[in-house]
């Protein structure tokens, strides 16, 4: 089998992992090999599914001894198998990089022989790229759950980012669909990465010469929609993972059919909008001060597909609004639908010198239509009825009590 055929098989097998961004690591060109990262992440192309191509994302091999139902590479699926040699992966990475096709490599693998053996193979590629070829581009390695602590330590010396995939939102889902993977083992790998990273960061505070460890941190991904787990379950798991392991990012991959999928899986792709809403909620949790429990309710555990989660929350909380753009604290501004994180910063900076009008917000590209019922500017005071009316329609809240309590006057 030639390299091109292997590439077709092993890129195809890697396409279900959404975590391919190359941001978060700054790496200066070292003058001895090719490659640097400016920390921003660069998409060198986009594929027909709208995803960014930033890294050479492949598996070292799609042979796997595990039998995870949701995974295309599980041992029981009759797909075509292939295996790259480390040298082949290294040349592909360097050759593609030199032509400016990619920012670096994202290397994952089916689990062969044992987690340790697999991890060693992955490390081998990264280590050669860094030490022999002085490669300065981005490297993301998959941390194989259950691999020994020493190997995780070594992997982080060469990789900008490590990720151990949580795979499915709940332990119950894992038992059903990935019997060989246990959330305890996955999480203990995450914990090893965190612990080692904190040690390394501490060492670097003492001496800047100390080696870096996974400078771009760790991430994980979970498949959404393969099981009946609700968005509330998913966001709760996300909160737990962010809190416990300081993950940089969680990638939510909507389940989609793939060749030779197990008959127990859904036949249809999870709506992309569900994925989108989860990402929005994830942002709200990380940058806007929302908690998982605020974004859904036990009665309605799934996010709305037709409305963004911030608007849903706003409609259900008329007592919080309206927010005065010229006076409210950052935390309150962040909760106004239609105003993004960056614009909150700009508003805070502008209003020290200039009282904001509606037209000013328009110039900042605030989504006025969404925001109007929730904010006060020098020339705008929302009609209480609008908020009350919308909240009644969507959240079935008491129409008058919270509104009058909040405002006193209209």
């Amino acid at each position: 089998m030639n390299v091109q055929q292997k590439l077709e098989i092993l890129a195809d097998a890697a396409k279900y992992d959404a975590s391919c961004a190359s941001s978060g690591a700054k790496r200066k060109g070292n003058g001895e090999g090719i490659g640097h990262s400016d920390g921003m992440g660069i998409c060198h192309s986009y594929t027909p599914d709208g995803r960014c191509v930033s890294l050479l994302k492949i598996l070292l091999t799609n042979f796997c001894t595990y039998d995870c139902v949701f995974c295309v590479n599980r041992i029981s699926s009759d797909i075509q198998r292939a295996r790259f040699t480390p040298t082949e992966v290294i040349s592909l990475t360097l050759d593609f990089y030199k032509r400016n096709y990619i920012e670096g490599l994202f290397l994952s693998s089916g689990i062969i022989q044992s987690p340790d053996y697999t991890m060693e193979e992955l490390i081998q590629v990264a280590k050669t790229l860094r030490t022999v070829h002085k490669f300065g581009g981005y490297i993301h390695l998959k941390a194989i759950p259950g691999a020994s602590e020493l190997l995780i330590k070594e992997a982080g010396l060469y990789a900008d980012r490590l990720s151990a995939n949580i795979e499915l939102p709940t332990q119950h889902d894992l038992v059903q669909l990935a019997p060989e993977k246990k959330s305890t083992i996955i999480e203990s790998t995450m914990n090893q990465i965190l612990t080692r990273k904190e040690e390394a960061d501490e060492d670097r505070r003492k001496s800047p010469q100390a080696p870096k460890f996974a400078a771009a941190g760790q991430s994980t991904q979970m498949v959404v929609g393969a099981t009946s787990a609700s968005d509330r379950d998913i966001l709760t798991t996300a909160t737990h993972l962010y809190g416990q392991y300081k993950l940089r990012r969680i990638y939510y991959t909507g389940f989609s059919p793939y060749p030779a999928a197990d008959a127990r899986l859904p036949l249809k792709a999870t709506p992309m909008m569900r994925e989108h809403r989860l990402y929005q909620s994830d942002w709200l949790m990380r940058f806007y001060g929302f908690t998982a429990s605020e974004l859904t309710t036990p009665e309605a555990p799934d996010l709305s597909l037709t409305e963004d989660p911030k608007t849903t929350w706003a409609k259900a909380h008329p007592e919080f609004f309206p927010v005065d753009v010229n006076a409210a604290p950052r935390e309150a501004l962040l909760r106004v639908p239609g105003i993004g994180y960056r614009n909150v910063e700009r508003i805070l900076s502008i209003r020290r010198y200039h009282q904001l009008l509606l037209d000013d917000l328009r110039k900042l590209h605030v989504r006025i239509k969404n925001a109007l019922p929730y904010l006060i500017t020098v020339d705008h005071l929302p009609n209480r009825q609008t908020i009350a009316h919308e909240s009644q329609l969507n959240a079935q809240l008491d129409l008058f009590a919270p509104v009058s309590a909040l405002t006193g006057s209209v």
Partner: protein, 529 residues
Amino acid sequence: MKRISLEPDFNTWRDAARDALRLGYRPEEIDMQDATVLNTLDLALETSDTPTGDPITTPHTSKAFLESAKFAAVHRDPQRWNLLYRILYRLQANRNLLKISVDPDISELERLESQVRRDLHKMHAFVRFRMVLEPGDPNARPIVVDESTPTEPEPHHLVLATPTPFGLSRTELPHCDPDPNATPTPSQPDTCEHFIAWYQPDHRILPLAAPFFAERFSIMRWTILTPDASVSWDPVSKQLAFAPGLPRESAPAEDELEDLWRSYYASIYNPARLNPDAMRSEMPVRYWKNLPEISLLPELITKSQSRVSAMVTTQQQQPSAQPFVPAEHNLTAIRAALPSCKGCELYKHATQVVPGKGAGHAKLILVGEQPGDQEDLQGEPFVGPAGKILDRVMNELNIDRSKIYLTNAVKHFKFVQRGKLRLHQNPRMSEISACRPWLLAELDAVHPHVILCLGASASKSLLGGTFALMKDHGKILETRYAKQVVATIHPSAVLRARDKESGEKLYNFLRDDMAMAWQAAQKPVLTSV
């Protein structure tokens, strides 16, 4: 109104602006135009070009303004010099002006700056180098390259030949002269590879973009051509050399790696998530001409739908015995239902299905791999040569065969016909998992204390794919199928042993593991509270 015409260069503007401030020009009294843009207003009648403002001899600027201005200056907007002057002038009176993003001048500045930044970012992303001058192919020269007359043994030498109205403008590129005796390293390769890209940015950003490529590809010899200017990097002297612009045809037409890249591109997208609108919004059509992979797009997009339906069909047809397994898990119902199974292809060729056999509530259950030739003909498990070995073990251990339950992971014989012989074939993983619902139903019905797996397939089916038989045989493991699962070798391994000695060794393995399993099965199971 005073009119001045400026070269498109930030420092030129800076000098002009400083002079104008010093002379006291108010922004509305001066018009700074781009010398490269034809100006139709030149014909307008001049009234007066005398400045009326106060002279500003020590103008104030801020770092933030200079930073933004540097970006806005390369924008092609013909009004940018005037805008920058207006802001500079207003900054003298209002030092916080820059922070008021809603001011019309400031928001215009921010607009220009962000468009330039975006253009830069896209250039970093979409420049595609093509390799020329591979060693051993001295004749392969792109049009852009006009070699100086080679006087032997002249090292590789490149000249960018730019056609201009006044003839060719020639820009010499540094020599490549690798030392043939040195051992090549990544930073000192033994080749004179030269990478050339053609790119057309929206704005005049090449000088701003070049340092990015110089840092990233510092050990490579490369050139970027744009219609306005070109730039080359010499990895030895670490110098950038700017030269005039060149048309697209000057760049090499392809790179042999592009096919490989296209393979990657075609494989890495998910046809079940087709979303060309999202793609177009991130990668507008005007960038497509540089990207070798774009030629694949029409086909990838039109084929997505059929690929997805094909996947769904195979998923629906994924072999599984599940639909044939009765809801009630008792041995009678299972035996009655088994002959109807069409869970996978195997039923088609086998003589009959081979159900498990033995005591209904046996404390020990033996799981083999698959019926063989004899079993297929007789319809009973373990009646062939491997069964004979099992019988011998059980005799030695005083185990009554009717006290245990014997079955297989796969219930139909798989073989290929060779003349009169029927050669056993290993079942595929998909067949083992297709048949697994039968095994699970039997386990549920018998509810044994101990499961003994015979051979690797049965072990992996119940103990997971990573189970290593030779390392972990004879150990009692807990699984979700039973509290105690033990694995051992398949009795046919004893038959296939290469000599008598190893045959005995394997036989002893089998006997000891079986003895252990049998003993464990006699003890009451400890149920945890």
